[in-house]
C-alpha cells in the first residue's frame, strides 16, 4: 500500500487527465486577445471553479519505491537512496558503482 502522499498524487494525476481537455478549452478562450473581454472574463471565472488537483502543476514525481518527494532521480523515478540500493543490487541495467 503506497503512502498517503503517493495516493494523493495518483488522485491528482487522474483528475488532471479527466479535466485536461475542458481546462485547455477554457484556457484558450481566456487567453485569446482577439475575443471580447466579457467572454474572456467568463472563461476565466469558469477556470477558477476547477478544483486544486485539476492543475498539472500539483502533480509531483515521487519515488515509485518509497514515495519520497525529494532527491528523485527522474530517469529511474527513484529517490537517491532507493536508487543506491537498487544499483548496488544490480537491479538497474547499465548502472554500476564508480571505482577507479
Amino acid at each position: 500500500m503506497p503512502n498517503a502522499r503517493v495516493l494523493r498524487d495518483i488522485k491528482a494525476r487522474n483528475v488532471v487527465k479527466t479535466s485536461e481537455v475542458l481546462r485547455k478549452a477554457y484556457l484558450c478562450v481566456a487567453r485569446n486577445e482577439t475575443l471580447s473581454p466579457q467572454v474572456r472574463h467568463q472563461a476565466q471565472l469558469q477556470l477558477n471553479t476547477f478544483g486544486k488537483y485539476t492543475r498539472p502543476t500539483t502533480v509531483k514525481n515521487r519515488c515509485t519505491e518509497s514515495g519520497r518527494g525529494r532527491g528523485i532521480i527522474s530517469e529511474f523515478a527513484l529517490c537517491r537512496y532507493q536508487f543506491r540500493l537498487k544499483a548496488l543490487n544490480l537491479d538497474l541495467p547499465g548502472v554500476r558503482k564508480a571505482s577507479w
Partner: protein, 107 residues
C-alpha cells in the same frame, strides 16, 4: 545593388507562406490561445508514472469464491482486537450530539 523591399511586399510574402504551410497569419503577434490547443495532452503519460498495485480487497469483493487471505487486513484486525483488550480501542461513536465526548468535555 538590390532595391529595398517594401513592407507591403514582405507582408504579402508572409501571407502566402502562411497559406502554403497552413499556419495562422498573425502579423501583430496577438495572443490567440493557440499554444494551449497545440500542446500535447499530458494526462495520459502522467497517469502511467506509478506502476499499478493489485488491490487484494477489491479482488476479493469481485470474486468472493476465491480463497485468498488478505494478510495486511488480518493483521490490522488482530491489532484492533489487541488494542481493545488492553482498553486502548477507539471510543464509542455517539448516537446523538449530546452523547459526544466533545460535549461533555470541561472547558
Amino acid at each position: 545593388m538590390a532595391a529595398a523591399i517594401r513592407p507591403m511586399r514582405l507582408a504579402a510574402l508572409t501571407r502566402s507562406r502562411c497559406s502554403i504551410f497552413q499556419t495562422a497569419y498573425n502579423p501583430t503577434s496577438a495572443r490567440t490561445g493557440a499554444k494551449y490547443l497545440r500542446a500535447r495532452l499530458r494526462g495520459p503519460s502522467m497517469v502511467k508514472y506509478y506502476t499499478p498495485e493489485a488491490n487484494i480487497a477489491q479482488i476479493m469483493r469481485q470474486w468472493p469464491g476465491l480463497e485468498i487471505i488478505n494478510f495486511a487486513e488480518e493483521e490490522r484486525l488482530r491489532d484492533v482486537e489487541d488494542k481493545k483488550k488492553r482498553g486502548k480501542g477507539a471510543p464509542k461513536k455517539a448516537k446523538e450530539k449530546g452523547d459526544s465526548r466533545r460535549a461533555s468535555r470541561r472547558r
